[in-house]
Subunit: 179 residues, 3 copies
């Protein structure tokens, strides 16, 4: 189930990246690169910081194609995308939760300490957006809007509590998603 | 002694990061993240570039808490901080020197060549501030004001000369600090 | 032959970085650092992403000195550099091609999959310029001007086709350069 949500999440993130890049008059290549970095940049920063090589996406070509294609399609259909803002908000929230849980899991499996596990979750959740904003020469939005980061931290905390009490994996994920 | 100075240094750097973030209307999370990155980002960039995993702060939770707490307190007390500018300048200089020496040491112990050792010191000294400025969407100050980087390079050079002549470790540190 | 072109390429990239930094009123240290990062940053990002430690330039001090010196000389001679714009364009194109081929090679030798090999080539080709623009607080040019990235992608594709058909190494390079 987490994989399904992850795939929806990176698609949504890629589209948000492409919209951002489109607004900055970037060309096709810029749009595709920023879509890719917005979607997979958080996980990349996490893997590099934790020394978790090979970096995840290098072993999953479909994720590379998916995010680039999603970015490309988004720009082509940009004028219709504005009607979908509500959908985007929901996908974005789902994505943030999925990224955070995955990030916590990666650090847990590498036996990092608890604060690093939480930070790994938050970094996976928010750094794609931070890299997108840096490349678009903007102050990162996540640093100026409380909600986004708070959700990620809460999800990480909740997830770790559930893991600690040995709740079964699927139930844990369910709880995290209904939070 | 170097550890003591290091702890003072990351605290001072975290406060400088928080003040910078506060000026950019960031929320609490943004302030805490930028405090953390300003204080520990230089060492992180160094560890990643040198392939020195696990990255230092992931093994030292107290450093994580300390820098985040320092950032938080700084924003709460921001209006009183302006009276302490002189103190900050001294702490900042101390921090730069401590970071540079630590950075040189890390590269020396990994058997890197001399130019890489010097660059490791300088990177540790200045990259926290560079990352802070990038996240605040400013041109990095250290690239526009001679003094800061020059001090770091001088400290690295002086330190290496002393190490080369087998001066005892404590004496070396003392000399570096009185430079 | 690739080494010769590589040395010309990093020199040209260092000069382009220094000119960019000079325009932003940076001091000597800023110019030298940005020259270094523009020239060797693409390869550094590639090595870190692929977990290819030690990072290439840390094992080649002459590359460090060369790029820094080129940056320094460029600023001192900045007023005469404007007459050389045509030369720069040619060197820049040569550099892009050399960086792309080298980046593909590194990923091939580490047994990464084909899409990662192409991305490794493109990242090596363009990330030096992206880092330069981020440090100069500009929106990365390569994301706004089609040509540059397209050339890099085409070179990577052409190179891989030639490698696939077992064309001898020197001939492959020759073909890539005459593209």
């Amino acid at each position: 189930m987490l994989t399904t949500v992850y795939i929806i999440a990176i698609t949504a993130e890629a589209m948000s990246g492409a919209l951002s890049a489109g607004r900055r008059q970037m060309d096709m290549f810029g749009v595709v690169l920023i879509a890719f970095i917005t979607a997979l940049g958080g996980g990349t920063v996490r893997d590099v910081l934790l020394g978790n090589f090979p970096v995840n996406w290098t072993q999953h070509p479909p994720y590379i194609y998916l995010t680039m294609l999603a970015g490309l399609l988004t720009v082509l259909l940009a004028r219709y995308m504005h009607h979908l803002q509500q959908v985007f908000l929901v996908l974005d929230a789902l994505g943030l939760i999925a990224f955070t849980i995955i990030g916590c899991n990666v650090a847990l499996e590498l036996d990092y300490g608890l604060p690093v596990v939480v930070m790994s979750g938050v970094i996976t959740g928010i750094f794609g957006g931070i890299l997108r904003d840096i490349l678009c020469n903007q102050t990162p939005q996540v640093l100026q809007k409380e909600l986004y980061a708070s959700v990620s931290i809460l999800v990480a905390a909740l997830y770790l509590i559930l893991v600690h009490f040995n709740v079964s994996h699927d139930l844990t994920l369910l709880a995290a998603f209904s939070s």
